[in-house]
Symmetry: C2
Subunit: 486 residues, 2 copies
Amino acid sequence: MIYQTKKEKPSLDEIFSPRGVAIVGASPSGGWATSVLQFLKEAEFPNIYPVNPNYQEVLGLPCYPSLGSIPGPVDHVIVSIRAESVLELLDECAAKGVKSVHFFTAGFSETGNTERAGLEKAMLDKAKAGGFRIIGPNSLGLMVPKSRLVNNIRIPLEPGPIAVISQSGGYVEDIPLFGSPRGLRFSKIVSYGNALDVNECELLEYFSIDPETRIIAIYIEGVRDGRRFVKALREATARKPVVICKGGTTEAGRRTTRSHTASLTSSVAVFNALCRQMKAIQVDDIEELTDMLVALQFVNPLPQGSGVAIIGAGGGISVQAADEMEKAGLHLPPFSPEAQSELKGFLPLAGSIFSNPLDADTIYSPKNIAAALRVVGRVPDVHMLIYHLGFHPVSRWRGGRFSAETYLKPVSDAIREVQQTTGKPVLLALRPPPDLESMKEFLTAQEAFVAAGLPVFHSMRRTARAMARLVAWRQTQNSLPLNQDH
Amino acid sequence: MIYQTKKEKPSLDEIFSPRGVAIVGASPSGGWATSVLQFLKEAEFPNIYPVNPNYQEVLGLPCYPSLGSIPGPVDHVIVSIRAESVLELLDECAAKGVKSVHFFTAGFSETGNTERAGLEKAMLDKAKAGGFRIIGPNSLGLMVPKSRLVNNIRIPLEPGPIAVISQSGGYVEDIPLFGSPRGLRFSKIVSYGNALDVNECELLEYFSIDPETRIIAIYIEGVRDGRRFVKALREATARKPVVICKGGTTEAGRRTTRSHTASLTSSVAVFNALCRQMKAIQVDDIEELTDMLVALQFVNPLPQGSGVAIIGAGGGISVQAADEMEKAGLHLPPFSPEAQSELKGFLPLAGSIFSNPLDADTIYSPKNIAAALRVVGRVPDVHMLIYHLGFHPVSRWRGGRFSAETYLKPVSDAIREVQQTTGKPVLLALRPPPDLESMKEFLTAQEAFVAAGLPVFHSMRRTARAMARLVAWRQTQNSLPLNQDH
C-alpha cells in the first residue's frame, strides 16, 4: 500500500499500546536506539524490529533495511537518525500505516536555526497527511509498563497509579530511576520534547480521565497554548492530584529552556498564581517531585492535620527535624505528661529526650519502636508519625541489628498496626549513607519498608516539605475520596 | 597519691595530645565505650587502658579494675558509666592526676531534673579541685587525628585544616562520616555536649589561634555567655573563615535544644544579625555545613566574582542548574558568539545547547570536556566553572567509560590545567545515584576527583548555595591571604 490519503489521527490510547515497534537507527555498535532495543528485549515486548540498512542483525534480532520490509504490523516507530533524513522516513511511516513516530533525534527548532524550524513544520504536515502522531522531536518518548513498552532504562513493568508528562528527557529517566526503588509505579510516562504534535495539553487532558492514572506529575518548561493548558489543568485537578515542577523560574533558567525545548516561558508569578488557584501541587525540583509522588502514592491514611510526632535517635537530628517541620509549616505538639511518663516506662532516662521529637538510643529495638509509636500515636494533636533512621559505618549498626527478620519485618508490622489502630500515617525518613557498605543496609531497609507499602523519604527537610504540601493540598480536597485503591 | 590540692588547670593543647587514655565502661559485651576502644586500637593509639572491675580483658587488651591500678600515665579518661557513679570516679581521676575527663554519660541537666543539675555542679567542683578538665557530659568528646585520638567512628588519621566545635554528638559523627569521603580533613573535633566546663567560647578562642586550624566549623544550639562568645567570634572571624550552623531556629527546635543540651537559645534574629556583622558564614543544616567546608578546603583559587559557567549533559538538569545558581545569587553570563562557535567546532549541533549551561551528550569524552572547559574558562565574566555528572544505571554509562585510566585521570588533569591557566576554580557536581552498582561508580569517581584535590558537591542546589556563600564571604575578606597552604 504505497498510496496516501488524509486519515483520522489515532487516539493516545492506541499509541500507548502498540502491537509492533520499529527502532530506526539501532546498530551493533551501540548508542541510544540500541539500548532501547536491549531494554525492550529484556521487557519481552512481543514484536521488536530494528531498522538499519547496514546490518542483517542487531542484538540477535533480524534487522530490516526499511520499515516497508518488516513483515508484521508496526504501530510505533522509535527514531534516532540524523535530522536531515527524517522526511524520507516519514514517507515510509505513512506507507507502513503506523500510528505514532517518536523522534529521539534532536537538532530542530530548539537550535534556533530557522531552516530546522521549517523542517519541523514539514514533518508535522507529513504526519497529518499520513494519519499518525509525532512524539518529540528531541524527546525520550514513551514508557508504558502495562504494554511492556520501555525505553532506555529499566522501569518496573508492574503498572501503577502515576502518569508523568515531561518536557525534559533526562527527567523522564530520573523520576523512575530515583522513584522506583522508593516504590513509585507508573501508568504511562511521556517525554514530549519540542511538542511538535503531541503536547502537554493533550496529555494532561488524556491523563485527567485515564482510568489507569490516579496521580499526574508534570515537568514543564513553557506552555504554548495558555488558555488550553489552564482549562486542562482545571479539569485535571478537579479529578486527581497534579504535581507540577516548572523549569526556568529565573532569567538564566528561561534562557536555557529556549535552547532546551524551544519553550517560551511565561511569567513565573503568573504560573505560580495559576497553580495555586488550580490547587495543583507545585514543587521546586525533580527531587521534590519524586518526594511528592511518594507521598501521594504511599501516605495512607492521609493526615487530618499538620501535627507531627517524630521518633528516632540523635539529638542534633531531632533539633533539625523540629526546625525543618516548623519551617515547612507543620507543627510538633508537645507530648503530654502522661505520654512522657508512659515512654519513661520502657525507655532509659539517660541520653533520651522525651519531648517531641522523641530521641532515644534504644529506639533501635523493634519492641521499643512499636511501643513508642503506639504512645505518641495516641497524642490528640498528632496527625502523622515519622520514624527516622540513619545508616552509619559506626559500630552500633553492626551485628545484624537491621536484619530483615529481626528488625525490618517487626518494625514494618508495628508501623502498619499503628497506622490501622490510630488512623494516622507513619512515614520513614531514612538517610542515605556516604559509604558502600552502609548503602547496602540502606537499600535493604528501604526495600523492606517499600514492600510493606510504606512511604520512604531521604531527609528531614524533604519529608517536611512533601508532607506540608500534602496537608495543604488535602485541605483543598476534603470532598474527594482519596487513596481509595489502597 | 591520694591527697588532693588545688592545681593549675591544663591547657587545651595538653588535652588534645594525651599520652594515655583510659576507657571506663568498656566491656566484652559491646556498647559505645567498647567501640571507641576498638577504633583507638585500629588507629594504633599507643596507650589504651580499658577499665572495668568485672573483666580481666576487653578486645584483647588487659582490663583494669580502677584508674589507680593502671601502670602508666593516663592523661585522658573516656567515661560511659551510670550518672550515679560519676563522683566516685572523679575522685579516682584526681588521684591518678589526669588532665581531662570526657563524659559520654548523659542524664544530667538536660533531663530537667534538679537533682541531676546539682550533680553536674558537684562534678565541676571536683574537676576544679583536682586540676583537670571535663568535656561533656552528654557528649562524644574528642577526635584528634594527629594524636591518633579517635572516637566511635573511623575518621582519617591524616590531619587537615578543619576544627569542629559541636554541641551535638551525632553531628560530630556526621561531619567526618559524610565529609571525609569528600576529602575533608581535621585538626581537632570536639563535641562538648552540656558544656559543664570546656565550652564553645573557650574552644573558639583556642581554634582562632591554633596554628593547625585554618577553618572553623561550629554546630551550636545555645550560648551561655553571649558577651564572651561575641568577642571570641569577632577574633576568630578576623583570622579564619568560621562556618556556623545553629540548631533551634524555630519554637519546636528551641524546645528540643533545651532537652538535648540544656541550651537556652537566644533570639534567632539576634543570632543571625550577629553572624552577618561578624562575617561568619551561616548555614542552615549539617549538609550545608559539610558543603561549605568542602568549598573552603578545596575551592582554589577562590572565585573573583559570582559568574558561573556550567558544562555537562542533560537539558532538564541544565535548566535546573541555571535556576538554582540564580536563586542562590550567582549569575550565568551568556557565552559570546565566538565562544559558542568554538564549541560548535568540536561538539555536535543536535542535542546540544551552546548557551550557558553548556549541554552536550559527548561531553563524556575527556578530550571534549577539557576543550569545553578551556573555551568557557576564557569567557570574561565567568569566575568559576562547574562540571556536572550523573551516575545512572543507563546503558551509556556502561563499558568502562568512567574508568580511572581512560576517564577520571584525564578529566582531573584537564581540570587542574584549566584552573592553573585561567585562574578560575573548577567544581564537580556529582549526583549520588539510587542503586548499588552506580553507587560504586559514583564513589570511584568521587575518590579520584578528591585525590586530585578537587571540590566535589552532590547536587546543583547544594553547589549553588555553598558557592554563593563563598563568594559573599570572600567579598568581606579581600585583604586576607587565603588558601595559602594549597
